[in-house]
Structure formats: C-alpha cells, structure tokens
Amino acid sequence: MASTKPKAAAGAVSSSDMPIDYRTIDRISGPLLFVRDIERAAYGEIVEITLPNGERRQGQVLDSRKGLAIVQVFGPTMGMDVETTAVRFMGKVATLAVSDAMLGRVFNGLGEPRDGGPRIISDKELEIVGNAMNPYSREEPSEFIQTGLTNIDMMNTLVRGQKLPIFSGAGLPHNQIAAQIVRQAKLRNSSESFAVIFAAMGITSEEANFFLKEFESTGALERTVVFLNLSSDPSMERIITPRMALTTAEFLAYERDMHVLVVLTDMTNYCEALREIAAAREEVPGRRGYPGYMYTDLATLYERAGKIHGRKGSITQLPILTMPADDITHPIPDLTGYITEGQIVASRDLQRRGIYPPIDVLTSLSRLMNQGIGKGRTRDDHRGVADQLYAAYATGKDQRALSAIVGEESLSEVDRIYLKVADRFEAEFVGQRPDEDRTIDESLAIGWSILSELPEAELKRLKPEFIQQYYQRTKAA
C-alpha cells in the first residue's frame, strides 16, 4: 500500500494506519486462523498471510472483537504455524480490478491470471460483495432468449436478466446442455451475442477443459471471462470465485452495456465450502449441517442477476448444481429453487432412454416465461400451446403408468392417443441433436404437430382462433 493516505479507494475501510504484521496466531483450526492482540480489525477486511517459507496467502476477517480476529484463509493452511506466520490487515475489503482486457482471459478462483498473461491493471476496483440492487431500480426482464432447445424455449422460456439454474445429477449431461445454451443463445432476429462469464467451482480439470475447448472452437473465448477453481484447488477460494465472476459481470453489463450470461458451476461445491467454514467455526448447523444463513448467502449471489432501468446491459445467470442422490428436496437445490426464477431439471429416466437433452418438463419451470412470450415476443399461441402440451404430456404419462398395470387394451380410445402423444413428445419435442439449433417457429410447429394427434374437443386450453389457425391447418397437411 502507498504510504500516502489513499483517497477513498474502492473497498477502503477507512484505515490510514500503516499495515502491521501480526505474529500472534493463537490457533489454526480448519480454514480458520485466530489472531490475538489485534484491536481493530474490520469485519470483512482482507488480510495477507505470510508463511514461514515466504509464501503469501489471502484471507478475510469473519469475526472481530477486541484482542481477537477470526480469519478465514482462502487456500490451504498447510505450512502455517503459530509462531512465525505473519498476518497483515490490509485495511480494505476484497476488491477486483476490472477492465475490458479481462475478456478472453482465464483467471483462478481469486481473480489472478491462470493463463500466463499479465495481471489486470485498472484504476477501476470494485468491491466483490456487491451492494443489493434496489428493487425499485429493477426492470422487469421480458426479452425472450432463443436457446434453440425446444424444451426450454417452448416450455421453460429463458429471458434476459433471469436466473435459471440447471438441477442435475451425477452422470447427467448438464455440461453439454449448458454449453449448447451458451453456444446458441441469442435474441430473436438479432445477431448480437452474449458476453460469457464462466465461473467454475471445484469442477474437475476434464470438465473445465470441455468448456474451454467448447468456447475456443466456437470462437466464444474472446468474449468470455473464465474463473477457474478446480477440485484440486483450495476449497475456500470457492467462496470468492462466484463473487469475482458476478463483479466482472456487473462491470460489463452496467458500465460496458453488454448482455452477460454467467455460468456458475457447480453450486453444490460452493455450498459445501460454505458448510466447511461453518463447521470450522462450530456454528449451530441448519439442515444437513449446512449453515442457517445459506439461503441469505446464496441470495447474495443469485440476486445479482437482472436488468436495471435506464441501463443497456443485463445479467442472465445459468447456475448448475448436482443434486446429491437426485434429491430435489436436498437443501442446495431446495434453497436455490426458492431464490431463482425457476429451474431446469435433468431427468435420469429420459437419459436412460437415450433422449437428449434429458430435461423433465413437468418439474422444470420458468417463472418469467409469461413476460417473455406471446405476441411480439414469440407468437400469440405460445402460452396456449405450452399449457396444452403440459396437460397432454402429464395425462399421457399417467396413462403410461396405468397401462403398465391394467394393459394398454383396457384404456379408452382417447387415452391411447394420449399415450402416443407422450411418446412423440419425448422423442420429437424434447429430443434433439446436441448441434441442433431450432428456431421458435420450428419448435411451435413440432408442438402443433403433436397436438394434432388429439381430437379437437380435448384442446381445452387453446383459444378457438388458434385451433382454427394452426390445428386445422396442421391436421390438413
């Protein structure tokens, strides 16, 4: 730090004192250091820890009282001792230097270059724990993003400024789905592409390579910023990684007018890091040992998606999480689902039957769908077709379960049609090739083609004019 008093730099916590090295570590427990004899450590202050071998690591104050500061170390505590390890309180909270030069670069989980390139030098330093967006400033997200995946575009429409997670399970192709969305996402009738921020938390190097290669081969890398924390990297960094990513996203969206798509993977690893700290602090655990404030903590990440009145850019979030044992009631998907605007749920059942993308329509949801569809956005019959397909598919699945017991012969004529509808729905509507980019009109046509199997009297959710316009025409064709 400069010896002159810095003028209200971002993140400064009003400290003009010269930093002092404290060699007063009392106890090291898990990722936590207990530093004695410090009188005035600020809550959230960043510290620099110098190990006996000269190596430096970062940490952050989690609890401060007279004579004691509890510091969470971002990184391993291996090699730290209580006698000679020095702790320096930096007088500022965690910040990130941001600039346009970040596009095309790969950083580690703490925002340091990982690609051998230079450090980012910028006079723009932003606090990584962003302030809450004023709900009054928010603009209602309503611009339809065409992902080219029929299932998402038709039934769980994604809009700009939404946060829509993928709930997946071990062994399911969530990475392929995410990559396909990133590759194909665009506004209708627009060639404007998204800037992509990719934040990896605790994923394997294979998964990371998959994404990097994908970005490279599609030419997306130059408009991508990557933050990589691999499974071999320190778990504590994972607490910082998504905040680095979202701070960058806010800079690009609100100061550079870009439309940013943020992919956060895997949120399960993030939550586990959170639990690790909570356990080390001996906090009262909530459900399954996760801390009671996990909802609030996750909200401070997810709520950073959105749009602001009067600003051009937007932040759309696509977090990925793997549900332990495919359990959607597990605290991680559960709390996430309560914050995000819907969820895309991957289904093992569809996967087993060889259907890609294996997205279960019935449990998936997009809460902002209504704002993004309809006349002028997609097409006026979109809502009705989607509702009718939901109902038909749900009925068809019921009939499938029933026919497994009583046999297909004892179903009524109409019910047998529903069986067929469910089969066609899965094979043609949900199923598509990983490189298939369907327009919304193509997707709607597939929808009508399936609905044309049903007798007209069954189409209770469609307005008569749409039936006339599309059903009868499809039927005739």
Partner: protein, 585 residues
C-alpha cells in the same frame, strides 16, 4: 455513547452504552448504520444491525437514539414502496443510485408534499386516541382519516382545515399534563400492537375472486390464512392474486426475503390493473414493503412488523385491510440467523426456542375490531402468510407453528403444480375453520343453497379420490356407470371450476355470484347424469354431448350477463341430457 466490542455478521456487541433499553434503535460506526438492541448485560448491548456491517471494527462508536424502532403513519403511505425499516425505495434510488449503499436515512413520508386537510372535529370537544380529527383524500380510492394518536386525550384546543405538509401543526389537544400538538402523521413502535377497543367474531368473508378459495376454503375479514408450499407451487402467484382481487380496502404486501424481480413485477403490473369495483388502478390502495433476499437480514426480520403496523393504522380508520406476507419462512430464518449469531440455545432445526411465540404474536395482530374511537367504527386486518417449507415438508417448525395459529390452510401441492393445475391448492388437504362462521353470510347475501352445494362438491371430490384408488388397480372400465359418472363430474369440478388461470383476463377474477352459478351448473349436470344413467344411458354417451363444451367455457361468461347466460345454459343442459334418454338406448 458506546463503542463496538465485537462484530460478527449482522450482530454487533457494544460496550459502555448507558441508559440503553431493549429494542432501542442505535447508530453504529461512522456511517451510522441503523441497529436495534436485542440483549442487555450491564451496559453491554447486543445489537442487530439492519445494514451490512462490513468495515465495522471494534472501537467504532455506537450512538443510542433512545427510541424503539418505529414507523411513521400518515398520508402518503399508499402507493409507496419501502424497505424493511420503512425507507422509501424510490427516495433511496434518487439519492443513492441503483444499488443500495449504507447509512442513508430517508424520511418515510414525503415531508414537502402538501395535503388538503378537512377538519371534522369540533374545537372544544373531548377527544381521545382514535377520534377522527378530519380527512385527507390520500388517493382517489382512499380517504385518509387523521386520528388522535392512541394515549392522548383531552379537550381539542385548536384545529383548522387547510393545506398542510405532514410536518405542519394542524391543531392541539389540551391534556391533563399540558398541550399536545397535532399533525397529519403520527409515529408508532412496530413491535407493539396498536390498541383496539374490542375484537369481533369473524362474520364476513374476504372475497378474493378465486373460486377454490371463496367457495371451498374462505377466509374471513380479520382472519388468518397460511399458504405453505414448496417452490414452484405457486405461492407467490396466489399471494399476488389475493393482493390484486380481494375486496379489501387497503392491501399491504410484504415481500420478505424473496426475489427482487417479483417486486418489480408487482410494481410493473399493479398500476395498470383496475380494481374490479372502482375501476381505479390497484396501486392506489396498495403499500409495498420489499426486503428482498439479498438485502440485510435483520431488516427482513423487521419488515413483517413494519407491514402489520401500517395495516393496523388503516384498520383503525375503519378500513378492511389485507396483509400478504411472502414469505414468513424467510422471516423465521432471519430470526434463526440472528439467534445463531447470539449463540442462543437452539430449538428445533436450529430455530430459536421463541419461534412459536413470535409467530403466534404476529398473527394475533390480525382481527376484525372495534377501533379505539367514540364512533365505534369497525375495521379489520386479514393476514395471509406464505410459508416456504424446505423440501415441501409441512412437518417443519415454521409450517407447524403457523398452522397452530392460523385458521385457514391452503395446502399447495407440487404434484398439482407440475401438471399445471393452478391454483395448486390441494382440495383434500386444505381446510378453512371459518366455513361455519361465514355460513350465515353466504346464506343471506348469496343463496340459501350455497352451503349445501359446497358440501356436495367436497363430498364428490372425496369420493373421486377413493374411486381413483380402485381405478389404479382395475382400470376405469371395471367401474359401474354410476361411479363413472362421479368421476366425470369431479373431473369437471377440477378442470372447469378449481383450476383458474391467473393470466387469463377474464378467468383471473370470478365474482361470488358467478361462482355460485358455475358450481350449481356443474352439480346439476351431475344430478342429471345420474338420472339419465338410471334410465339406461351410459357415461360414454353423456360425455359426447356438445353442451359440455359450453360448460367448460363457463368461466368466460362475462360478469355483466350472468343471469341470462346461466339460465340459458341450464336449460340447454337439461334438454341435451333428456335427448339422450328420450332417444332410447
């Protein structure tokens, strides 16, 4: 003045704070972050801070304001959007930009706005808490009644009509202890219920235009209801539908720890929606409190109290107020988080041992009451609380503690939601304990046979669930025709009556009169089916009748032509069914 001794998340421990009282508001650090004393040991106070505490360090100053957390009540509340501690979010935006920074104090009500006050009380009259001094037309929908604050009584010494801001004196009362100035606004401590003269028994339904609620599980004006449901089951849409269409005079909508975009949706849609009775924008009767999930957790804890205090204030004027709290689970979690930071001994699932008491105290602030006033005016606060049980499991502490004190239970069902049956209120699990209390109202104001019709519909649906179990084993074809007919009519009840689209311009609201006619039409069709079967017809034949399509489109019959349209429909129905049996089988 005290100093910070420890800081950990939203909890700060302050030493040397003299004369601190429980729940006094304090200002922490150079930024003056707002906090509240929640524990006192000697002159050491534990403070929950309503703003992010990053950067606070031991040794920072802590100032006691000596006052408990209060809200300011007066004209200008309606159409406002506040955070959890009544800071207007539009003012914050004007001053701070699009992101909320810390330590900013904003007046809850516009101090510069001039209101036209019409005095109605007579100088020299004896007045006491609740006496109406005069009125201000706050919005075209709501006449704001300016009242003597509770606890003040004496002789009205001065009062004048005219144009005033909320800071101007409008008169004074001579009390035993001296002269008390009067203004358009008053302050009230949020954690203390505003006093009333008497609580009344529930007798009038809060009509919501939602068929499953008004017909099957009604809530009374002044009653309490609880909507628990897993995510994606439509809690928020339900709450918003109630906020939009319920026949309350004033609606307070508390977005407690929920999504920012949901509040944006309310802000974007309410000004464009019309009140069905008055055709005025709904925003004119609405107050929003938005403490989204990423805003400070302690302010979330306060937000429900801020909301209910405002609701009580309008109740005291004689209005029927509906308060929607979405979601009380987030409020309970805020309590849990703060309790954890205080290292209190946890009760169930880490929640503090006082969870049940706090929940009960909150809901107890609802009710239909005779307000504190000489003119015996009645008003009500209806509280509808959403609960977000983890994993949709209703056995968790927040759901259970809420169910113990609320009298209506709208159980949202993920299975219904995933087949897009909305509102996904499960008709077998839900209940309303007000049905008996409200029976006389429905009988006198709607129709004599409404109660029995309702009962029959519920029985039909129950019978359906029993029959479905059999169908799962043997298939529909094995059932006798009479039972198939029960399945047929209950399917109509489910699809054409219970399901209601919040997004359809007409279907979104159904008047109670129309609900009665729709229900009657479906059930009488069921009766006629049974008759026809007695004469040898089959359900298969009856299902092919074209008149059934008209039945399923009943929801689109305009409110203006109910009588004629339904009479015609019932006649056509009877003729169509008769034609099946007349034609011979």
């Amino acid at each position: 003045m005290g100093i910070v001794a420890r800081v950990s998340g939203p909890v700060v421990i302050a030493e040397g704070l003299d004369n601190g009282k429980m729940f006094d508001v304090v200002r922490v650090g150079d930024l003056g972050l707002v906090g509240e004393i929640i524990r006192l040991v000697g002159n050491t106070a534990t403070v929950q801070v309503y703003e992010d505490t990053t950067g606070i360090r031991p040794g920072d100053k802590v100032e006691n304001t000596g006052q408990a957390l209060s809200v300011e009540l007066g004209p200008g509340l309606l159409t406002s959007i506040y955070d959890g501690v009544q800071r207007p979010l539009d003012v914050l935006k004007k001053n701070l930009g699009d992101f909320i920074t810390r330590g900013f104090v904003a007046a809850p009500l516009d101090e510069k706005k001039v209101w036209e006050f019409t005095a109605t009380a007579k100088i020299g009259a004896e007045v006491s808490g609740g006496t109406i001094l005069g009125t201000v037309q706050e919005t075209p929908l709501i006449l704001h009644k300016v009242m003597v604050p509770p606890g003040v009584s004496g002789t009205l010494a001065a009062l004048k009509s005219g144009n005033f801001t909320i800071r101007d004196p409008i008169g004074s009362v001579t009390t035993k202890t001296g002269s008390v100035p009067l203004g358009l606004s008053q302050k009230w401590i949020v954690r203390v219920p505003r006093p009333v003269q008497q609580k009344l028994a529930p007798a009038i339904p809060l009509l919501t235009g939602q068929r499953v609620i008004d017909t099957f599980f009604p809530v009374a004006k002044g009653g309490t209801a609880c909507i628990p449901g897993p995510f994606g089951s439509g809690k928020t849409v339900c709450q918003q539908q109630l906020a939009k269409w319920s026949d309350a005079d004033v609606v307070v909508y508390v977005g407690c720890g929920e999504r920012g975009n949901e509040m944006t949706e309310v802000l974007a849609t309410f000004p464009n929606l019309q009140d069905p009775k008055t055709k005025r924008p709904l925003m004119e009767r609405t107050i929003l409190i938005a403490n989204t999930s990423n805003m400070p957790v302690a302010a979330r804890e306060a937000s429900v109290y801020t909301g209910i205090t405002i609701a009580e204030y309008y109740r005291d004027m004689g209005y029927d107020v509906a308060l929607m709290a979405d979601s009380t689970s987030r409020w309970a979690e805020a309590m849990r988080e703060i309790s954890g930071r205080l290292e209190e001994m946890p009760g169930e699932e880490g929640y503090p041992a006082y969870l049940g008491r706090r929940v009960a105290e909150f809901y107890e602030r609802s009710g239909r009451v005779i307000a504190l006033s000489p003119d015996q005016r009645a008003g009500s606060v209806t509280v509808v609380g959403a609960v977000s049980p983890p994993g949709g499991d209703f056995s968790e502490p927040v759901s259970q503690n809420t169910l113990r004190v609320t009298r209506v239970f709208w159980a949202l069902d993920a299975a219904l939601a995933s087949r897009r049956h909305f509102p996904s209120i499960n008709w077998l699990q839900s209940y309303s304990l007000y049905v008996g209390d409200l029976e006389p109202w429905y009988r006198d104001h709607l129709a004599r046979d409404f109660g029995p019709l309702r009962q029959r519909a519920i029985e039909t649906l129950q019978k359906e669930s029993e029959l479905q179990e059999i169908v799962q084993l043997v298939g529909v074809d094995a059932l006798p025709e009479r039972e198939k007919a029960i399945l047929d009519v209950s399917r109509m009840l489910r699809e054409d009556y219970l399901q209601q689209s919040a997004y359809d311009d007409v279907d979104t609201y159904t008047s109670i009169g129309k609900q009665y006619r729709m229900l009657r039409a479906i059930l009488s069709f069921g009766d006629q089916e049974q008759d026809a079967i007695g004469k040898g017809a089959t359900v298969g034949q009856l299902q092919k009748l074209p008149v059934r399509q008209k039945l399923s489109r009943m929801k689109w019959i305009p409110e203006g032509e109910l009588q004629a349209s339904f009479d015609r429909l019932e006649t056509e129905m009877a003729e169509a069914v008769a034609s099946v049996t007349a034609g011979g089988v």
